[in-house]
């Protein structure tokens, strides 16, 4: 009988976990929010979503070919699909097709494969692409539309939608501002926040997602459901989302209390923009966030704080993507300072005193 002798040490049993399973579970968690928003924003959103996903997988394949790697093991891990999915969710739903293609180049080629592929990148690939596109093509990346659900009167049909996505023209009368954008614009015109906020969709519509926004970010209820599903599946833990949303809420509330005319309140900050999508699906990206729980709390707080600072003081109305990237760059340092306490040692690494109570 020939039994191959093991060449590596034990264990000779393994959990059912795999990278592919992890990625697929995250994708599954994104499905409800995505499906709802695709319905809400109609055919153009579907075209852009498909183009972005396809481009990301194609770029991953191209990079693997260039690097001389085997295609199947890597393409099969679903990570490129997930990156494409997340990138698409952060694009304006009626943005032209080339934003998806160019986004894939930024995300997969520059953001991920240039660093050495899965697990090696310092920055969240989808956010690299989002920010690179926003900075390079501010108009295309800030042309928002309100909800135009499929098959409703006044909603573009298939043919018209092709023109929007591949012709690059959003017909007149469709454009709308996001809540964050609206408040910022009004503020720049001298209208205080306290006044402009009265014209925004009510909390109910904000929570359900019946508002203008990125392709996948508007439905807070479904994003939250996806996030809770991931926690239940033990793919993510509460640390990053709670720290990020908590910090954002607290600093926004403080700001609002100090100067209601200048700063929007905590609830508004939580419910608008990509706060929820970012907290549950983007800041929690394994590769680019700290590995220890305490590090994840530091990281989440940082993202929350920076999001508020950028939204409140910087030129762009939305700050989640920038905040995530900035905190990504701190991840290695956070990791270094938040290692767990070793068994039998103090936090500083000295052996515990024998027989002393800790």
């Amino acid at each position: 009988m020939m039994i191959e002798t093991a060449t590596t040490s034990a264990p000779y049993t393994h959990s059912a976990a795999s990278v592919q399973k992890t990625m697929n579970t995250v994708i599954l968690a994104l499905v409800p929010a995505t499906a709802f928003n695709l319905y809400l924003f109609g055919w153009p959103a579907m075209f852009l979503f498909s183009v972005t996903l396809f481009s990301c997988v194609a770029m991953e394949g191209l990079a693997l070919l260039i690097r001389g790697r085997r295609l199947l093991p890597t393409l099969g891990d679903s990570s490129a699909i997930l990156t494409g999915w997340l990138l698409a969710m952060t694009l304006p739903p009626w943005a032209p097709w080339w934003t998806g293609v160019l986004g894939a180049v930024f995300a997969i080629l520059l953001g991920k494969q240039a660093f050495g592929g899965l697990g090696q990148n310092l920055f969240n690939p989808a956010m690299v692409a989002r920010v690179a596109l926003l900075v390079s093509f501010p108009v295309a990346l800030t042309s928002w539309v309100g909800p135009h659900p499929l098959f409703w009167t006044g909603t573009p049909g298939f043919q018209e939608a092709l023109n929007i996505t591949f012709g690059g023209q959003i017909p007149d009368g469709f454009s709308a501002a996001t809540a964050l954008g609206f408040v910022k614009t009004e503020l720049s015109r001298g209208i205080p926040v306290s006044q402009s906020m009265g014209q925004l969709p009510d909390l109910m519509d904000m929570g359900l997602g019946l508002r203008a926004g990125s392709l996948g970010e508007t439905s807070l209820v479904l994003i939250l459901a996806g996030g809770l599903f991931l926690m239940w599946k033990k793919i993510i833990t509460w640390h990053i989302p709670a720290a990020m949303l908590g910090t954002l809420f607290v600093v926004a509330t403080l700001g609002h209390t100090a100067n209601p005319a200048r700063f929007a309140d905590g609830t508004f900050h939580l419910m608008s923009g990509a706060a929820f999508l970012g907290a549950f699906f983007i800041a929690t990206d394994y590769v680019t966030s700290p590995v220890s729980k305490s590090g994840q709390i530091v990281f989440g707080c940082g993202v929350g704080l920076l999001t508020w600072v950028i939204r409140s003081f910087a030129g762009y109305p939305e700050g989640v993507a920038f905040a995530v990237l900035l905190m990504n760059s701190l991840t290695p340092i956070i990791d270094q300072y938040t290692r767990p306490r070793r068994f039998g040692r103090t936090r500083r690494g000295e052996p515990l005193a024998p027989l002393g109570d800790k």
């Binding site: 040490s9 990570s79 592929g117 590995v291 994840q296 039998g344």
Partner: protein
């Protein structure tokens, strides 16, 4: 009793039900026993018999030598056929010296030492001597000579003996069966050990997934107020000494110290039963219970096996293998050794023999680390496996050592959980081995350097003395200096040999 949380850990698929309801049965005596001289941690035992000699059951055939060692006894009566090299039950598959015994079927006992009837009141020395003589080693798998761990109370104030019945490794149920079937012997052995240690109480920690063992042990301990049977949560690696003590007492063993330094000594339940046998009946350790399990074994069993029985005999006793197993493992699947082949003998530390199919091993090609942090959350030692592995991958052993790689238990939790199937423990074992080798080399070269310097200093002194003598000679024309020049070459010669010895 209040329990305390331990850090991290995992919940693997235990699959204990494959063998846990199988009562312990004795292995039919094999045609040959290969009894290794080195089955324990420490120096190998020294051979006391010669080929052709007839030995009786329980007769010492090799004696311990040096401070850390253990003797070995004949598991049955028969003739020493040869002393030869056999494949070690170890991943290396290296040859080790074994006494090959052909049993004569008579199973005739040698004259055994008298039972110690007043074992709970005699001087500890008597117990130590008996345990040492009986060749008892830690039967949980580490095979460390037990007598050394029974001396730990000499210089320390011990509060308790913790008896390890956690049996947290999947598949294994030899301890479970022993506690169910020989609870009274286990409890008695534990009380004898506690006496030898000078510890007031015994706490037996048993994982909650062994209700029958818990019940049997509770019944056996009912009349002894000094013995507490304590269920502990099912959480791998609960059976790690330091973690079991922490779970039971809340005390954390300081780094580079022993659990004895915080008042507790840990012994395995099977060791306690062996101590009972040695003390109460004079019987040395000549057999042990081995769990043979895994889905590639036709009929998993718990077998009382004479030391030295070939693994092939145990498997045959279980009805053989089903198909070709993906892995053969000695011990548990989390920390066991890969079996080089089926001809290796059972040794004192063999707790299990597993034949696992591909679905059970769940092996897959390693992929890139996605930094999911699971290994960090579950490491029971508070280490950062992914970072240590990154250092080791670039052969930066110092970097890995700074992160505490030498404190890794090799419990396997990180490798088990890694979604990318990275063999993390393999990295750490490599690093630990290399660091140990380097440390030995460093100590050696340090020693050499010291010797060389001492030699040079002596030579200079001798030279100076010679010059001084010469000076005296020229001025006084005396022969006094001859003595100094005469001794110098001798000194040099004897000192020059030392470094090579070191």
């Amino acid at each position: 009793m209040k329990l305390f949380a331990i850090r991290g850990g995992i919940h693997p698929d235990y699959r204990k039900e494959l063998a846990s309801d199988k009562a312990i049965t004795a292995l039919p005596m094999p045609a040959r026993l290969q009894i290794l001289l080195h089955q324990h941690i420490g120096a190998p035992a020294r051979l006391m018999v010669a080929p052709g000699e007839r030995v009786r059951k329980g007769q010492m055939i090799a004696q311990g030598q040096g401070p850390v060692s253990a003797p070995t006894h004949a598991p049955t009566s028969g003739v020493i056929e040869s002393v030869s090299e056999v494949t070690a039950p170890h991943a290396s598959g290296l040859p080790l010296t074994a006494v090959v015994l052909a049993p004569d079927g008579l199973d005739e006992w040698a004259t055994l030492p008298d039972p110690i009837t007043d074992a709970l009141t005699v001087a500890p020395q008597q117990i130590w001597d008996r345990v040492a003589q009986a060749g008892i080693v830690g039967l949980g798998g580490a095979a460390f000579p037990s007598v050394i761990k029974l001396h730990l109370g000499v210089q320390r104030k011990l509060e308790m003996l913790v008896l390890n019945g956690a049996e947290c490794e999947p598949y294994l149920c030899c301890d479970d069966r022993l506690m169910r079937e020989q609870a009274a012997e286990v409890v008695d052995g534990a009380r004898i050990m506690a006496h030898a240690l000078g510890a007031r109480q015994v706490i037996v920690g048993i994982e909650e997934n062994k209700p029958e063992a818990l019940e049997a042990m509770t019944r056996a301990a009912a009349e002894f107020p000094d013995v507490t049977i304590q269920p502990v949560p099912v959480q791998y690696p609960m059976g790690s000494e330091r973690h079991l003590v922490q779970a039971l007492t809340g005390r954390e063993t300081p780094a580079m110290k022993l659990t004895a330094d915080i008042g507790a000594v840990v012994h395995n339940v099977a060791t306690a039963q062996a101590v009972h046998q040695a003390v109460r009946h004079g019987r040395p350790l000549i057999d042990r219970v081995v769990t043979v399990s895994g889905r590639a074994v036709r009929e998993p069993r718990n077998i009382r096996t004479p030391i030295g029985a070939p693994v092939a005999d145990l498997i045959a006793f279980c009805g053989g293998l089903v198909g070709v197993p993906a892995r053969l493992v000695l011990g548990g699947p989390m920390m066991g050794q890969p079996l080089p082949n089926l001809d290796v003998p059972v040794i004192k530390g063999t707790s299990g023999i597993l034949a696992l199919d591909a679905q059970e091993t769940g092996e897959a090609a390693p992929g890139p680390c996605i930094r999911c942090g699971t290994c960090v959350s579950i490491c029971p030692c508070g280490l950062v496996p992914l970072e240590m592995a990154a250092f080791i991958r670039t052969d930066d052993l110092k970097g890995a050592a700074n992160l505490g790689v030498t404190e890794c238990l090799s419990c396997g939790s990180c490798s088990w959980a890694c979604p990318s199937h990275i063999p993390l423990v393999q990295y750490f074992n490599y690093a630990k081995g290399m660091l140990k080798t380097k440390e030995r080399e460093r100590a050696k070269s340090e020693h050499t350097k010291m010797q060389t310097e001492a030699h040079r200093a002596r030579m200079e002194k001798a030279e100076a003395a010679k010059l001084a003598a010469k000076a005296t000679k020229t001025t006084r024309a005396s022969a006094n200096g001859a003595a100094a020049t005469g001794t110098a070459p001798d000194t040099r010669q004897s000192r020059a040999e030392e470094p090579t010895e070191a």
